[in-house]
Symmetry: C2
Subunit: 183 residues, 2 copies
């Protein structure tokens, strides 16, 4: 398998017919009409290179894979990485550009039962900003090697933050509906 | 002190002269020209009510205060909260609407030494999306009572996610530059 960084960057596009979710609602799902205007704008500050080029190939969550991924920060913003090398872990925000945004209640294929969007980590949400904690392996210029991502190759990068155990780590947190499901 | 929810919502605005950072750079700071166009748009899906109406009053980080804050989700998206009540903790994304966006190296007042934006949790960043872990106290209709926020009253809400200890909690993570500073 070729290294992700050697492959050409996939084009940015919306949902891909046949591969992404379509417009039909599953039983129990609820769509909300979206506002007519955006309230704020995001810059893509880089792209994320991963081994996964189709939605179905992505791991279900970031702990299901130890694949090394590469975060490529645009040259314009690369000076912002100064000091990042001293972090063991980072919080990475990225834009799930292929997800629809109008479902407030949804039934992900692997869960079945419908739940509120804000009780799920599904990419389908009004603002499809994902947040993943990654382990930092190395920094080479504007490129970070990390473990802990589960997104598509070419995913747009939104932000990188240092992960502080003191404020970000809550080891005994419980997601009740999920715990009940796996108990 | 009146409860935040009784006060009128403060208007949304950019940096406030005299209170927010101004355009001058401190020694060592570096500004990057921002792209001419946004790549994606955000909807404000609600507002956050906190006791803090001026930047200087906000706690330095979310663990410095046990003030109860209220997250108010717009009616349009309120059905998305179904199931959230079963979570002990949430990851809340919000928009730091009063921060400038062009600094890639910055010297926050309380740290002095300049560091890359992506090694800091400063609100000043190309995409001023903050991520805070909160403890959920209660849900009443479209309102969540939480502890663990440090933002201004009226801050626009971007997303709410369930916090999974299995993927989000890394208790032994270290931010090297910060650890060296406090050691």
């Amino acid at each position: 398998m070729s290294s992700p960084s050697d492959r050409p960057l996939p084009p940015l596009s919306g949902p891909v017919p046949g591969e992404d979710e379509d417009d039909r609602l599953r039983p129990g799902e609820v769509a909300a009409p979206l506002p007519e205007r955006f309230d704020a704008g995001l810059f893509y500050i880089g792209r994320i290179r991963t081994p996964w080029t189709r939605r179905g190939d992505c791991p279900r969550n970031a702990r299901q894979s130890d694949a090394v991924c590469t975060i490529e920060v645009d040259e314009r913003f690369a000076a912002g990485l100064t000091g990042v090398e001293s972090c063991t872990h980072l919080l990475v925000l990225y834009w799930m550009h292929r997800a629809r945004r109008d479902l407030v209640v949804q039934a992900p294929r692997h869960y079945g039962e419908p739940r509120g969007t804000f009780a799920l980590r599904s990419p389908v949400r009004p603002n499809p900003v994902a947040a993943s904690v990654v382990k930092l392996l190395g920094v080479e210029g504007p490129r970070l090697s990390v473990v802990g991502l589960d997104c598509l190759d070419g995913t747009p990068l939104v932000d990188i933050k240092p992960y502080f155990a003191s404020t970000d780590a809550v080891g005994d947190a419980v997601v009740g509906w999920h715990a009940a499901r796996t108990a």
